[in-house]
């Protein structure tokens, strides 16, 4: 297990901070006076942003991963944290999404200290801790605990308003998530029984996967797919994400589903040599393609904005699963491949655009008292900043240049062309057209002048509009990064089966 030897790197303490800061935030929330609750949460999220930026800077300046041995114990006996390039980038991305969400949510749930604000801020911080651990965890069981933390934080957010529909959506989500967790845990048992270690680096050095590893990764992927709402296990997502309050939907759609996806990504790219992954990764790609087409088609048929945006998440998550066939099928080093960068960009661009979209949907609801798309005429006059936010986010979701969504899809197309895999090209192109269809259903009426002025129920708060707009602008700005594989995303990756 010499390949598994790790040492705490200089500045590795930031990884501990990434876990401990949000947890201390949670404990403080329940101990301070109600008036201080929002400030504690905001401070914890700002500190978390600082920590994430520090991790990213350390990784990019040293061009090496940051590692930390908890308690000084070496894996496989102990637990290690390790942020490689992609983990550092995603940690920074999540931290960046969370701050505007918090600014948007401040004061949105009534008097602090009551049920909804207490639950919302607690769960938001718990999601922060869980995601950080998922991004830099090294031990499969430690990742299980992080997954459960994520689930227990996400489910109460779905039923925050306490209505019958949201309770039912939350329960359905919980059943899917629990089935997913237990399948994941089954895989952990198989892997420990076969190799006596749960450390990802130690496992990556094991050559020649046998039946046990394949069965383990099979059941774990099925479990993680249920948690990520990969078609055909997506049925829980639309009611859950549409039923949650907008600030919660933003986090659930932009970040929470990405947590389980990230672990699946690690399993496939870290533990399976590419030549062993061909059949399975093609299957994942087919499910992803089906999600793109069916999710978009369902989004086209929705009458209400939040449900449309939720179905759009099903479709956009589908793109992520195209990374498996494109990244593992090329035969080239997967982490320098175009597909790897394309997947990371898609994940980030969707996170920013979708968070902005849900927050804008919430503002629309508040401004006109409903979210029926058919009655959006004249919205541009009432809430110009919000409509601008939706427009920018839509550009990225459709994949029009310049935007993060465009870069991601362009790189994905490049990868597909490079491999002569024209069927993925068709899926990506069709998905873009369908996305254009569903976003124009929102934007066209919003920009059409009304026949009679539509009633404004409540003025929108500029601070909240600005928070949503900031996220949409970032989704666009990602499109200005160079259209090539990022070396940053390959830092510290250890290809499975590599000597």
């Amino acid at each position: 297990m010499s390949a598994g030897l790790l040492a705490t790197s200089p500045g590795g303490d930031v990884l501990v901070a990434a876990i401990v800061v949000p947890v201390i935030g949670i404990l403080l929330l329940w101990l301070v006076r109600p008036r201080a609750v929002e400030w504690v949460a905001l401070a914890a999220l700002l500190a978390n942003l600082g920590v994430a930026v520090a991790v990213l800077r350390t990784v990019s300046s040293s061009a090496a991963p940051v590692a930390y041995l908890i308690g000084g114990w070496q894996p496989p006996l102990g637990l290690a944290l390790r942020a490689d390039g992609i983990a550092a980038v995603f940690m920074a991305m999540a931290a960046t999404v969370l701050v505007p969400v918090a600014i948007y949510a401040r004061g949105a749930f009534g008097a602090p200290g009551e049920r909804r604000p207490m639950v919302f801020w607690t769960m938001l911080l718990a999601i922060t801790a869980a995601l950080n651990l998922i991004f830099c965890g090294q031990d499969l069981f430690n990742l299980y605990v992080a997954l459960e933390l994520l689930t227990f934080a996400a489910v109460p957010l779905v039923s925050l308003d306490g209505s019958r529909e949201t309770l039912k959506a939350a329960l359905r989500y919980l059943v899917f998530a629990l089935a997913g967790s237990v399948l994941y845990l089954l895989g952990v048992a198989i892997i420990y029984g076969a190799y006596g270690t749960l450390d990802l680096i130690g496992l990556a050095s094991i050559r020649g996967p046998d039946g046990a590893l394949l069965l383990a990764i099979g059941v774990m992927t099925a479990g993680l797919a249920a948690k990520t709402a990969l078609f055909p296990l997506h049925l829980w997502l639309p009611p859950a994400h549409a039923g949650a309050p907008p600030a919660a939907s933003a986090v659930l759609s932009a970040l929470v589903v990405k947590g389980s996806f990230f672990i699946a990504l690690r399993l496939w790219f870290d533990l399976l040599p590419p030549e062993r992954a061909v059949a399975g990764s093609t299957l994942l790609g087919v499910f992803g393609a089906a999600a793109v087409i069916i999710g978009s088609a369902m989004a086209l048929r929705q009458a209400r904005l939040k449900l449309l945006v939720a179905y759009s998440t099903v479709a956009q998550l589908g793109y992520l699963f195209l990374v498996f066939p494109l990244g593992l099928g090329s035969g080239a080093a997967p982490f320098e491949s175009t597909a790897w960068t394309a997947g990371a960009l898609q994940l980030m661009a969707h996170a920013f655009a979708k968070a902005a979209m849900f927050m804008a949907a919430g503002l629309v609801y508040e401004a006109i008292g409903h979210d029926r798309i058919a009655e959006f005429r004249g919205l541009g006059r009432i809430a110009p900043l919000t409509v601008l936010t939706m427009t920018l986010a839509s550009i990225s979701l459709m994949g029009l240049p310049p935007s993060g969504g465009f870069s991601a899809k362009w790189l994905m197309l490049t990868a597909a062309f490079g491999e002569g895999a024209w069927w993925w090209v068709l899926v990506i192109a069709a998905g873009g057209l369908l996305a254009a269809g569903y976003v124009f259903r929102i934007l066209v009426p919003a920009f059409t002048p009304p026949e009679e002025p539509i009633a404004r129920v409540k003025p929108v708060v500029v601070r909240r509009e600005a928070a949503a707009l900031a996220l949409a602008v970032i989704a666009i700005l990602i499109g200005f990064l160079p259209l090539a594989p990022w070396p940053l995303l390959a830092i510290g990756r250890i290809a499975a089966g590599a000597p």
Partner: protein
């Protein structure tokens, strides 16, 4: 040979009870089947030589889970007998059988020698000051798991509370107390609760060197609190209470505090300074036991149902 017959019997019984629970006609019968399943699983754990796990399974897996399932079985209306289509049953049945067959193959063809970390655990156990290897894993090698698990339990409690009504936020969980009926339960509680508290503390105390530990002990303490509540001897605390919140947070705070102190004093988060391992672990265990007992009791008590 006798042992194998016993093991085979336990295994068949467990499978039979599981199948019966899946097939049972009504929900409450299924719940009762599940409680029996927990009991036979406990037997299986002792036969596998895992006494710590057997204690946990009996206390939490069968016991505490059984209590809340019983409550739900009594409260929730039975689901309509919605039978899945024949085709769905065949497909899902085949898939489940395939997974079971794959797992059986792995069980029957184990790697040799069996991989194990027992040697490594033994090698470093002396430096943790503990005699129980599982305590060493939970409090030293994988202390981060245990810390996060405490946070998970706390979050589950907040999740349960989040399902109460707005009007009841900060109030007391459970319905208002009815006057205790008959004399049996209050008498039973008066006698058993002190005994149970002693046994709970004992289980935590011996956990350092023998089977036992904070999770099992805390569950027993939580059970005593619930019993006292059912007997009408004590009232569930208001969830907005300052003291209750400090009680819940104490365990995680002590854990993270000692963990962070390890960075300057012992070179790493959740490392213990040499010579102080056992006392520090004991301090954490005591604080965790108190907090976990409160968390578990309140999780079983459910969301707030009375206005503050």
């Amino acid at each position: 040979m006798m042992g194998l017959v016993l093991d085979g019997g336990i295994a068949l019984l467990t499978i039979g009870i599981a199948a019966w629970t899946i097939r049972a006609g009504d929900d409450f019968a299924a719940v009762v089947g599940f409680v029996a399943y927990g009991l036979v699983l406990t037997l299986a754990w002792t036969r596998l030589g895992a006494y710590d796990v057997a204690l946990t399974e009996a206390a939490i897996g069968g016991g505490a889970t059984g209590v809340i399932l019983m409550r739900a079985g009594a409260r929730v209306k039975p689901a309509p007998a919605a039978r899945a289509s024949r085709r769905a049953r065949i497909i899902v049945g085949a898939l489940s059988a395939a997974v079971a067959a794959g797992l059986s193959a792995i069980v029957l063809l184990p790697p040799q020698p069996a991989p194990s970390l027992a040697l490594e655990v033994r090698e470093h156990l002396a430096s943790t000051g503990l005699g129980n290897p599982i305590g060493g894993v939970l409090m030293a090698y994988r202390a981060a798991d245990t810390f996060l698990e405490t946070v998970v339990v706390l979050l589950a409690l907040f999740g349960v509370w989040s399902l109460g009504r707005d009007a009841h936020w900060g109030g007391r969980p459970g319905p208002a107390l009815r006057p205790a009926e008959g004399g049996a339960l209050p008498l039973f509680a008066r006698v058993l609760v002190p005994a149970g508290i002693v046994i709970g503390i004992y289980i935590v105390w011996v956990g350092a060197d023998a089977p036992g530990g904070k999770f099992q002990g805390a569950t027993l303490l939580a059970a005593m609190a619930i019993l006292a509540g059912m007997a009408g001897l004590v009232q569930a605390p208001a969830t907005a209470g300052r003291r209750l919140r400090w009680l819940l947070a104490a365990g995680p705070i002590v854990f993270v505090g000692i963990g962070l102190a390890g960075i300057p004093l012992a070179g790493a988060f959740l490392a213990y300074p040499p010579g102080f391992e056992k006392p520090l672990i004991l301090v954490i265990e005591v604080a965790l036991t108190v907090s976990l007992a409160a968390m578990l009791a309140l999780i079983v008590a459910g969301p707030t149902e009375r206005a503050p």
